[in-house]
Symmetry: C2
């Protein structure tokens, strides 16, 4: 068998792969209202200040703060009430000495006003006059023009995943279209003589094509479009033909190899034939996922994953999802979802090898607890009982019960 002559450390494998991969992010312009979850390809600057006018943050009276200087219950200030600011309208009057006007939350301050006194600190003393029982500071209960954002300020950086707050903010600025990265097309190929379609009755020796569907789901969760190329038998020519079509039509190709060693070898041979430089990494010192293949052909990444459904899913998070992230233009410092939790059991691992262990995290007594979910690595429903993964790095031989460990949640 030609495989695994050398198992590369995970970091080396990732570095070789990343340094060789020149990803070109494709962009499209879409409606901002449809852009939640998408990644910006340009930084976006504010076309005008936000708020675009100075406004009240409470219901009250707009006034000049100096006119209520020293006001108290014992010694109220008296102001002339000269009108009311209608919502959505620019006031057509301005305040002069000892004048005020009724204003609602969000109303525009008239010229001459620099603060708002809340209703509850006032009383109408007689028609056209109010008593003010409290002093107000300059700018109190007022949101200044440009207080959130100044004109030309960058409001959304390139490579930002748009959340509801960004969508709202862009709309507030009248930015109704945004440039975002296209969703990359990810080809998913499942190979192996033992693999049959999901609709097939189960026969001894055969297993249904789990990987095409679990990996497609993972790709879609990550923001890609999964394109399934069906099930390919352990046949070099057929696999090469399907992979050639896939690489022509998609931005990234993932092949889950048949389980046998010869089937796994087909995958690396096919990747080498698809284009230069071909296979860069064949075999990684990681568990599960040792037979992982990383290649680049025609400028596109081709990832060969183990046929074992659980290994494929776990390892795809290490080597496939990062490529999807690059293709959708995520910034490298993107905050990956992880938590810290207390481990319930000792976990040992082989020195030199990186181990990934499924865990179930839950809160007990205001603390997050990570309980390892054991089971042989082929058991998909055992994996489904977990909600996170912990990594035992290659330079340690395990963790002790009670240690705080980092858990990547899913």
């Amino acid at each position: 068998m030609s495989e695994f002559l050398e198992l590369l450390p995970v970091e080396d494998a990732q570095l070789i792969f990343k340094n060789s991969l020149k990803v070109k992010v494709k962009e499209e312009e879409i409606l901002t209202q449809n852009a939640v979850g998408r990644i910006t390809t340009d930084s976006i600057a504010a076309p005008h200040p936000l708020p675009s006018f100075t406004r009240s943050s409470v219901d009250g009276y707009a006034l000049k703060a100096s006119d209520a200087f020293g006001a108290s219950d014992a010694l109220p200030a008296y102001l002339k009430l000269i009108g009311e600011i209608s919502m959505g309208v620019k006031p057509d009057f301005s305040l002069t000495l000892a004048q005020c006007c009724l204003i609602h939350t969000g109303g525009m301050l008239p010229a001459g006003a620099d603060a708002v006194i809340m209703l509850e600190n006032t009383q109408i003393s007689r028609p056209g006059e109010i008593e003010v029982y409290r002093a107000v500071a300059f700018g109190e209960n007022v949101i200044q023009e440009g207080e959130d954002v100044k004109t030309s300020e960058i409001v959304v950086q390139e490579g930002t995943r748009l959340r509801p707050a960004e969508i709202g903010g862009l709309i507030a600025l009248g930015i109704v279209r945004v440039k975002v990265a296209c969703k990359p097309r990810v080809a998913v190929i499942s190979s192996g003589d033992e693999i049959v379609s999901p609709e097939s009755k189960i026969h001894s020796g055969k297993i249904r094509d789990t990987n095409s569907y679990s990996l497609s789901a993972l790709v879609e969760e990550a923001g890609g479009i999964a394109v399934r190329y069906g099930i390919v038998p352990d046949d070099f020519d057929v696999l090469y033909q399907v992979a050639s079509q896939a690489i022509a039509e998609c931005d990234l190709v993932v092949i889950t190899a048949g389980s046998s060693a010869s089937a796994r070898d087909f995958t690396s041979q096919v990747i080498n034939k698809l284009g230069q430089p071909g296979v860069l990494v064949h075999g990684v010192n990681i568990k599960p996922g040792k037979p992982t293949i990383l290649g680049i052909c025609q400028g596109k990444a081709v990832v060969g994953l183990p046929g074992n459904p659980v290994s494929a899913l776990i390892i795809a998070r290490q080597f496939l999802v990062p490529v999807v992230n690059l293709l959708i233009g995520l910034r490298e410092d993107y905050f990956q979802p992880f938590i810290y939790a207390r481990l319930t059991l000792n976990l040992s691992s082989q020195a030199g090898r990186e181990d990934w262990i499924p865990v179930y995290v839950e809160e007990r007594k205001s603390e997050l607890i990570a309980e390892p979910v054991f089971g042989k690595s082929n058991l998909i429903f055992t994996l489904a009982r977990s909600n996170g993964l912990i990594c035992i790095p290659a330079d340690t031989t395990g963790f002790n019960a009670g240690e705080i460990v980092k858990v990547y949640t899913f």
Copy 2:
């Protein structure tokens, strides 16, 4: 002004609302391959065991463990090699005493075999015979039929959000269609004389309709379908007409009120006219979000949110998203995304009131740090600079710098 005669504590408000709301989850049957992120409405049982046959987890030789009892480098066991198991095929032979056969990862064990010895612990001594240098235990390197799942075992509970692992597991069992909750239709109505459409040029006194879009994005993130009913002026009759249509067509209605107190009153009057019991809660002791209105009309929830875009988004996570979660059939014990992090600053709050503070969480020196993001509550891009919220409960008056606090991430 009729509002805020009584501010209810958050827990009371949630309880009153929840106890009055009888949610009917609608279900639909869809292809499993399209079901990632959807919530099951039935528990799903395994139609057959998984794996459906006893198989090898390594490349090696299938044998009877007792035939290699005590084998070592010094004293190997000698076994007759009688064939090879092809992938995907049920063996048409069985092993008898001191026999073995070549088997690949995933291959089906022949009758008479109960373990697999890895290739690297063997050597071909002469054609048709291997030497075994190591003893194997009964069942070693073998995955037993049903080891993951037994027939009739519940593999996915009702109310489970389907992730890639569940999708793969269901496909492995040949379950190609699943019953999931329909995506609820959520009506989003924005009201206020000061509100203009996103495409409008900005005029003094007017603001663009941020809430319809940020709340729609939040609803879609939560798994609902947002249906926008446009911008309604501060006019009772128009608001009632639009809300009537919305409640007839959707499963849940959210209205963001105009900012003025009279506009906020329209919302509660409209909810009362829409049907019994109408408004259940008007005013909650929470910051931001005091003017929140919770109502039920025609058996459907109607939520009135503050017009302030930041308050609306923060408070929607407390009162709107939970209703969406009920409508999509999530189990109540669903694990909400939160983390624990160390607070960088003192935060004080008014006793009796629940405060929500945006924070930015990042990792520093293997620890999660939560830095409060300050800014007046109307500033949408200030909110966008945060990635989590912390809650100061009503029964405390704040947190100290250095305390570990719970952060709800987004």
